[in-house]
Symmetry: C2
């Protein structure tokens, strides 16, 4: 199973591709960050996020995309940008018929460290160990993206197969929308 | 000036196209709602919003897109869906080099009714009058989309021209993103 993990953000959007199955050693295929300049127009930043995510989907052809679930209770100043970047990532995946899974930060931490309250350093250390890397991926957004992918591979493999079938079906039969013309 | 107003939402995304200039009678070219089923996967709903917005951009070729600015302080349960739908609308416009403007609900209400605290009925009544319609557009999301477009036409025409030049330039020179491969 090949999974693209996305830690959404407008300034830094972490992306990481992991391949493997639950119970077997995992392999990192790629890791990086899609960046957009803070002084650009919001619409242009979203276009840049789309281009970045598209290039990762195109290059790695993941079977699943795992995106961090955004909560509106958190940091009010950054939550809107995070929600917007995550929408673009989900859109890119769904357009290609790739199933999207959302995992909460505590689910991801619990999956890779055993504790839902682990800190960034602990997550980075476990990602390094699980993927047999020389050093923790930087910045933290990149490590978090890999942790998301690992979390997805380890959670509910049967559910993943079902979700994949549903997403493919939905991509083949798009929904319609109606409007009224003056 | 031709403006597509978008009142973002996942369940109902209001869209309305208005043509005109400040100080002259305005014309409604089209109004409608892009709907997505609440029980569909989030990614698929975003794809449906994209398809809906794209068809409106394609049909009416607006010079500006005016989107309601979403605040994270508001209704926590719906704000994420609103932020995600607005991200898709902004993305669609920016991809085509169409400048996107964000207006707050109170700016829109003040523009069309004279009061930033006007209620839905008042906004609907003024939209009906300003566009010389037979009845208020329904649902309220559709009327709000028209109000957004009107608000945009009436606010800072000089600023609009500048923004249009910047958006076109940005669309021609897209930003780049970098990644590292294992």
């Amino acid at each position: 199973m090949r999974v693209l993990g996305v830690d959404p953000g407008l300034t830094r959007c972490g992306v990481g591709v992991v391949e493997g199955v639950a119970g077997r050693p995992l392999t990192m295929l790629g890791v990086g960050v899609v960046r957009t300049p803070a002084d650009a127009e919001l619409g242009q930043r979203l276009v840049a996020v789309e281009q970045g995510i598209e290039s990762w989907l195109e290059k790695y052809r993941p079977e699943f995309v795992a995106v961090e679930r955004v909560f509106s209770q958190h940091n009010v100043r950054t939550v809107m940008g995070t929600a917007q970047a995550s929408a673009v990532a989900m859109l890119c995946a769904a357009r290609r018929g790739i199933p999207v899974a959302l995992h909460t930060p505590s689910e991801v931490k619990a999956a890779v460290t055993g504790s839902g309250r682990a800190d960034k350093a602990q997550v980075g250390a476990m990602v390094t160990r699980l993927l047999r890397l020389d050093a923790p991926p930087k910045p933290a957004d990149a490590a978090d993206a890999l942790a998301l992918a690992i979390c997805h591979i380890w959670r509910a493999p049967a559910q993943n197969r079902l979700q994949q079938a549903v997403a493919l079906h939905a991509a083949k039969a798009p929904m319609t929308s109606k409007g009224r013309t003056a």
